[in-house]
Structure formats: C-alpha cells, structure tokens
C-alpha cells in the first residue's frame, strides 16, 4: 500500500503493516506465555474450592493452607535443598566438562559432547526408572543424595551447553597475555577465565536450579515416604484434592523462580546474562 508524502503531516508516522504484524505476533506470544499464569493467579486468590470465573472474591485461604501444611512445607524445603545442591554440582561438573571439551583437545570430542548431552534426549521418566532400578540393584535404596545425583544428571547438560556457548567465542589471547605477564595457571583461571565465562556458567546454574526444582518424572521413582519433593506432592495431592492449594503452590514456585533470577541478577548482572 502506498501513500503520497504530501498527504502526511510531518509528525505522523506512516502505518507499517510489517511492524504491526510483528508487534501483534509478540503480543499473541506474550499472551500465550502469560495467560496460564494469570489463570493460576485467579485460581490461587479465589476462595471457591474449584476454578470459577469471574472470581467471587479475593482470599488468602489457599496460601494459608499451603503454608500451614507440613507436607507441603517439608516438600518445599526438600525441593529447595535438592535444587541448591544440584545448582552447585551441575555448575562444577558442567563447567569442568565444558572446559575440558573446549580446551582439552580430547579424542572423540563430538562423542563426549553427545554423551554428556544424552540425558536431555532420553525421556526423563525412563532416566528415573533406570536409576531407581540401579539404586535398588546395588542395594543403596533411595537416599536423598541419590535424588540429587539424578537431578544433577539431567541438569548438567544445561550448564554444559551455556558454558560451551561462551567458550566458543572466548579470546584465548587474554589468557595468554595474563600468563606472559607472570600469572600462574590457577590465577589465570580464577582471575581471567572464570570471570569471562561466568555468564554462561551462571545461566546454566539458573537452568539447573529450575530444572531440579520443577523436576517431576525423574523424582517420581526416587522419592521416599516423608521425603517427597514439591512436584511429586502436588501431583499426588491433585489426585485427591484438586483445590486452590495447588494454584497457591504454583504461585510460590513462580515467585521463587523469579527470586532466583533476581538474586543472580544482583550477583552477575542481568545484562551479562541476557547477552548470552
């Protein structure tokens, strides 16, 4: 569609169909992503014991039920504890693997990369079942550290991938310059390499935390009585009591995820995180 410049006022921006479509598409995508959260929000504050729209009022009864339930609270703390451990382990293991794969000139590097990424390719429920059988076979039962190891297994690929992405664009001459100036290899690593790959490692850490905190299929077989993670407790709760406590728990999960991102933003800066 064409318009004659003479008809346009000097301050008026001509209609751009492409830009409008772009904005429209973004709005649709945003709505697609945020609408479920909005529904959860409505359900969490609605006093009715079922989903009803429009809501009949605002109530904190489901939050009260969630926070006063020892089952939910124990599960929440266990999930946070496991996710915290997984974050540390996945960052250490994934970061080290990424460095070895990017720098180590290892034989069969492609195979090793695929090997470490393989937990993402296998359905998580099968990973959980296989680990469950392995644990029972070796007679260790289902200890919490077994659950942490299982979550770490599926979280490492996230750290590996994000760290490898940073290392791919890494200028090694900076490290060489530090070494030439007399820095030891350890000092080069902690004062040059690590600060530069930090955005990738931390981004992977965020993923690892969230993947562990929300992990359901792997946990399903590995949790023990009185030692169940929040997603497993929520799943079982839903089978018997499908009320707003589920929505309240979901809101708490969402807020926790946001809190983790904000804390990391304070630690490393969101710009560095986004740049990745």
């Amino acid at each position: 569609m064409s318009t004659t410049p003479a008809r346009l006022s000097p301050n008026r921006v001509p209609f751009d169909a492409g830009r409008a479509a772009y904005i429209g598409l973004n709005l649709v995508l945003l709505a697609f992503l945020l609408l479920p959260i909005a529904i959860v929000l409505v359900f969490a504050f609605n006093p009715m014991p079922y989903i009803s729209f429009p809501p009949v009022g605002i109530s904190l009864r489901w939050f009260d039920k969630f926070f006063s339930s020892s089952d939910f609270m124990n599960a929440l703390w266990l999930s946070l504890w496991v996710a915290g451990c997984v974050l540390v382990l996945a960052v250490l293991i994934g970061g080290a693997c990424a460095l070895a794969l990017a720098r180590g000139n290892l034989p069969g590097r492609s195979f090793l990369t695929a090997f470490f990424m393989s937990p993402l390719m296998l359905p998580a429920i099968l990973t959980g079942l296989a680990l469950f059988q392995s644990y029972l076979l070796v007679g260790i039962g289902r200890p919490v550290w077994g659950l942490i190891m299982a979550h770490t297994l599926v979280a490492v690929p996230y750290v590996l991938r994000t760290t490898l992405a940073v290392l791919h664009n890494f200028d090694r001459r900076i490290e060489e310059a530090a070494a030439v100036l007399g820095a030891s290899p350890t000092r080069v690593f902690f004062e040059v390499t690590l600060p530069l790959i930090r955005p990738g490692v931390f981004a992977g850490g965020v993923f690892a935390f969230i993947v562990s905190f929300d992990q359901f299929p792997v946990s399903l077989f590995l949790v023990v009585p009185k030692g169940e993670t929040l997603p497993v407790v929520l799943f079982n709760y839903m089978k018997f009591d499908l009320d707003g406590a589920i929505a309240a728990a979901s809101m708490v999960s969402i807020l926790l995820a946001i809190a983790v991102v904000l804390v990391l933003e304070r630690l490393i800066g969101l710009k560095a995180y986004v740049k990745l």
């Binding site: 469950f132 399903l220 009585p225 009185k226 839903m238 089978k239 018997f240």
Partner: protein, 348 residues
C-alpha cells in the same frame, strides 16, 4: 502367703509365656513395614492417628508411600526384596500384580482373624487379597440446574445433558473402566458385552472426560458438568458446613464396587507384621474412624457407624447386595484392545 520372690517368679513366668505366645510381636520389634496408602484426608488420618497407633502397638516403624505410581515401582523392585510389604490399591491393579506374581492371592482367617467378620464381597473370587473398604460407583448430579435426578445409568445419555455430562479416560481410570462394563450390562447382555458397551458409548457423546475422580468432583462443583460418573464418597463428603448443590444416585441397575484392597507381597520379609497390619485395618474401631472421615463403606460387618453415615453407606447385607464386582482378570486380559477401541470412539 505371697512373698516378693513368688510374685517376681510369677511375673517372670507370665512375661515369658506372653512372649512365647506372641511371636508376631517379637518379630515385629525391630521391623519396618513398607506399605502404600492413599493421600488426601485419608492420608492425613493415617499419618496422624492410625499408623502411629499401629507402630506403638506392634513396636515397629511403618514406611507409608503415598506417591503414585505404586505398581510400576513394585514391578521395578526385586521380587525377593520388594519395595512394599503391603500393597493398597484398587482391585484392577491388584489383579495385574497378582498375574505378575507381585502379590499373594488370598488371606486366611488364621493370618488375619478379622477376615471372619467381613462381608462376602471383601474376599470374593473377584478379589485378590482382602477388601478393607469400598465405595459405590454411580452418578453424581447437580441439584440446582433443573435436571431430573437420575435413576438409571441410561439417564446419563439424556440429550439434555449433551456436553454437560462427564466420565473418565477409560485407559487410565478404573471408574471409566467400570462405567464401560456397566454400559455392557445396562444396554446389552452383561458386564462383558463389549459390543453393546461400545454402542452405548456413542450415545454419550459429547462427554467431558477426566483422569482423576478429584477432577470430576470439581467439575460437578463448578457446574462444568451437571451429571457424571463418580463414587459416592466423592459426593457425600460435601455436607454440613461444606454443603454443595450436588447429590449421588445409586442407579437401579446397581452400583459398581470401587474396592480399597490390601495384599501382601510374596517376597516380604515381615509377612506376620503385614498380616497384623491387615487385621488392624479391619478392626471395627479403625474402620469406623476412616469410614466416617472419608465416607467409605467399611468391609467389616460389625462396624456401627453414626446415623448420617449409616443411612448412606453400604452397611447392611441388603445394601451390599447392590454392589457389582467386575471381573478384572477378564478386563485386564483385553485392556489393550478396549483402550484402542474406546479411544477411537471418543475421538471421532
């Protein structure tokens, strides 16, 4: 004359006799009993009252798993050292487990004395293990939507209920499977008349299908459906301060039994304790406590419930006679074909 020495001697003798006479309790002393149990209100009462009392009485620890799925976990563990000693689940899954050799078939009065007091359905040939409670599967409906209260299973096919009737995803829900068999009975020659059931299923379209009974309860409460297949306890529990405009109908053709069944695993290292737990769960006081908390019909005939429960639950031989028990062995053997067929019918 009774001396201090004779009292001590008599006391020692009594203690020894008691100990010898109760090998089960001795065996239980350092044991852990691994069981499965339901969540929700049932689970709350089990954890708060029932299990601690059992642990105290039998000097043991109970590890109660409330995290589904029980059967795949049992299947994945060693038969010689199973993950559970006592499996609590519904009858259809018990039959699957029995077929695979994961649980034992019957329990005897010798092992579980309270079995002598249960209604016949609790230990019938349709049951693996022993039924401790049952619910009645029938029709739940809204009382405020101007619909005629149902009397028959056929009433669910009323055209006025199109899009406002509910049932379950048959491949994953035993109530859906029971409903399908009842369609065979009501529209055909019996529970095993699958052709009649498939035809009847067509009459129910459009129908809303859910995975869990909890979802059906909420759909009824929110009036997303006006009538649906549900177990009686899923409706009766909305009473008193929690009253909702819903009611339950036991159709004239009969209600299907949704049994809560206990069975023992053959590889259990604490079988006597497992039997003691079964017996304990069948005690009248334990049965009464749980029945009145979650509106389940107790399997023990000697249980006397409070009037409001007694009038609604299956607590007399006459009411128990309305229970229909499906042949799950028969159903499980053809489940794959049935799943494929019903999925095709309900998708089209």
């Amino acid at each position: 004359m009774i001396s201090r020495r004779s009292i001590l001697r008599a006391g020692t003798g009594l203690a020894a006799a008691t100990t010898l006479g109760a090998p089960t309790i001795l065996h239980a002393q350092a044991s852990t009993l691994k069981i499965t149990t339901w969540g929700g209100k049932w689970g709350d009462i089990m954890k708060a009252t029932v299990l601690p009392a059992f642990e105290k009485e039998f000097k043991c620890t109970v590890s109660a798993d409330q995290a589904f799925p029980y059967v795949p976990k049992l299947q994945a563990s060693s038969k010689n050292d199973p993950l559970y000693d006592v499996l609590q689940t519904n009858s259809n899954e018990q039959w699957n487990c029995f077929t695979e050799g994961l649980v034992m078939d019957k329990v005897s009065v010798k092992d579980v004395p309270n079995v002598a007091d249960v209604y016949p359905y609790a230990v019938s040939d349709k049951i693996v293990g022993v039924t401790i409670f049952t619910s009645a599967i029938g029709l739940g409906y809204r009382t405020d939507k101007g619909i005629t209260p149902p009397k028959s299973w056929k009433d669910l096919a009323d055209p006025k209920l199109a899009g406002a009737r509910g049932s379950y995803l048959i491949p994953v829900n035993s109530l859906g499977q029971c409903h399908l068999m009842m369609l065979g009975k009501v529209y055909g020659k019996g529970l095993q008349d699958l052709d009649a059931a498939y035809k009847a299923l067509e009459l129910l379209k459009p129908i809303k299908l859910v995975d869990f009974t909890g979802q059906m309860e909420k759909m009824l409460l929110s009036a997303e459906v006006n009538e649906g297949v549900i177990h009686d306890s899923g409706v009766y529990r909305y009473e008193g301060d929690n009253r909702q405009p819903v009611d339950f109908c036991s159709p004239t053709e009969g209600v299907v039994a949704l049994e809560q069944v206990l069975s023992v695993t053959p590889g259990s290292k604490v079988k006597q304790l497992a039997y003691a737990y079964m017996d304990y769960m069948l005690r009248p006081d334990v049965q009464k406590l749980l029945a009145e908390a979650v509106w389940y019909s107790p399997a023990n005939k000697k249980v006397k419930l409070a009037e409001k429960y007694d009038t609604k639950l299956l607590t007399t031989p006459e009411k128990v006679a309305t229970l229909i028990q499906p042949d799950w062995k028969w159903y499980n053997a053809r489940k794959e074909d049935i799943d494929g067929r019903v999925t095709k019918i309900l998708k089209s």
